[in-house]
């Protein structure tokens, strides 16, 4: 009994919970990336910029509506839609013309977009740091596990995560367009041959993926410094998560995010200085053991 108590000490449990809430943002962003990579075969480097734009839009929208709690909820709803809209325009104007080309060209195009947007964000929003206040209902923290605080906003994130996961799963597996997308991921010629407009299917998937990036940005905004350079912070981790989870697989993205996030929180307990190494080591282990990713990929 004592052994169990030491293993599941308050500190450990607290770290685990914190790691879980961290993974929510990673999961949301990575799932969008996974969809785009799995279905459209685009390694979307632009994803990071859209995450950043989502955060900045949240700042602007919530500020425009008075900055209080209502502002935040409106922004949470509108910012991802705004990002989705932008991505749709980009996809229809640029990306769709390249689907027949090598995927490495699409990677280049998304990189070009991220370069352009990096400067655009600076031009539109300027350089000063921006802050989105946490909505009043989530301010403060709850005390679990031996009195250690767990911010209420993180509790909110823990709740949102599964909701988004289930919603995504329903869309991808239970709706008609979801099923068509999965088919198109495996064999786009066949899907086109049965008379479905594959082009618009792809546009839809791209939009959903980018919307998720924007949603991630909107959700993370109250907890961080909304500043330039946000586009670089998540993108590498998101790619790694997608790879270890299995391309195009929503639950894979969730699993990957969990591994990544937990590896980091626990790593900090074990070896504070080099805690950052643990998630990368975990990725390496997974890739060596199961190169195609932990769960089934669409490729």
């Amino acid at each position: 009994m004592d052994l169990i108590y030491t293993i599941f000490s308050p500190k450990l449990m607290s770290q685990i919970f914190v790691g879980l809430s961290r993974t929510v943002i990673l999961f949301i962003v990575a799932s969008g990336l996974s969809l785009i990579l799995g279905v459209l075969r685009i390694p979307n480097i632009w994803h990071g910029s859209l995450y950043m734009v989502g955060a900045f839009m949240t700042f602007t929208i919530s500020g425009a509506i008075g900055g209080g709690s209502l502002g935040f909820w409106m922004a949470l709803f509108l910012a991802p839609l705004g990002v989705a809209f932008v991505s749709l325009i980009a996809e229809r104007s640029f990306f769709q013309h390249l689907y027949e080309r090598e995927h490495i060209m699409l990677l280049l195009l998304t990189f070009a977009f991220s370069l352009v947007f990096g400067d655009l964000v600076k031009m539109v929003w300027g350089m000063e740091y921006k802050s989105v206040p946490v909505p009043r209902v989530f301010q403060g923290s709850v005390h679990l596990f031996g009195g250690l605080p767990f911010p209420l906003y993180n509790v909110f994130l823990l709740g949102i995560g599964p909701i988004v996961a289930v919603a995504l799963w329903l869309i991808v597996n239970k709706t008609k367009i979801g099923k068509i997308s999965r088919a198109a991921a495996v064999d786009r010629e066949m899907v086109g041959a049965v008379g479905i407009n594959v082009s618009w299917v792809f546009a839809f998937v791209f939009m959903i993926g980018c919307l998720l990036a924007g949603l991630g940005g909107a959700l993370v905004a109250p907890t961080v410094n909304v500043s330039l350079g946000m586009d670089h912070t998540l993108i590498m981790e998101a790619f790694l998560i997608v790879i270890i989870g299995g391309l195009g697989n929503i639950w894979g993205a969730l699993l990957g995010a969990l591994i990544f996030g937990l590896a980091q929180s626990l790593g900090i307990l074990i070896w504070p200085q080099f805690g950052i190494v643990f998630p990368y080591a975990a990725v390496i282990v997974v890739l060596l053991l199961r190169p195609t990713g932990l769960l089934k990929s669409t490729w």
Binding site: E102, H103, L115, M236, I243, F274, S297
Partner: protein
Amino acid sequence: MLKNTSGGNGRIVGGAVIVLLFLLPLFLPRFYIYLISIILLTGLLATSLNLPLGYGGIFQFHHAVFYGVGAYAAALMITKSGLSPWVGFVVGPFAAAFLSLIMGLICIRLSKLYFGMLQISLGSLVWIIVYRWYSFTGGDNGIHGIPVPEIISSQNNAYYFTLLVTLLSLWALYKIINSPFGSALQGIRDNPVRSGMIGINVKLHQLMVLVIAGFFAGVAGSLFIVVDTAVFPDMLFWTLSLEVLIMCLLGGWFTFLGPMLGAAVIISLRTFVSGFTDYWTLPLGILMMLVIFFLPNGILGYIQDKLYGKIAEQAEAVEQTDLAQPAVKES
């Protein structure tokens, strides 16, 4: 790279260009000599990347690691061991080749995208170690004021040295690509199954390519020390790997000199656009978009296409080696 029949004329013009490059310091201002030095070594780095990437069909996504490790190994050797700097310049490429061997052995069992991602993960680990170990590597500051041998310390002499080493390296790489080994490599790129069946040891060839590429990346790293007398942890970061990849693709990854051209374009753009505006990544992004849409085989590829049309065949062969293949290859 397809052999061309206009060898004779090519030699004359090639020779003229080389002579011209050696004469540049006589009439170009100092800054351009510095800039061309940087372009040469970065172009060498890009060319070394193109060996596995364009000719080998390997998704070398984190090539910068070898550049950075080569540079750091040389820098640490020079500043900490008390031996002559020349020793450091030799140690650099070999350290990079060694790392390439180790990482290659780990990554080679995967292919395509997964190879690339595993390489990124391993490379990131290396970066973390270099970045955090300040007492040894200088951490985020890097190492500054590295002493360089008297004879190559002046800017012009550094340029000559860089030019000489780059030309020799390019020549060596060219020879490798046009050797039986190089042909086997391209055969593996185009059809690994068939190559395996005719008795080519696919994995061994690929591993050798990685080591060679790592070696020359290390050479580029040592050259950076000669030109700038410093090393920075940025040199190992994934954003540089991405930039070098873009140089290859921009210039034309089916051609030998494409990567060098790509390096020249990007570095020149960065330098001269900064003269007009601080937003220099925006024009670069737009240029990339233009190239992607209108010059699908890169700038040099486009030029060659216009002249020969052979490049299109080459491009088609490479297209089959893309992300669409099964992830885990049969051995």
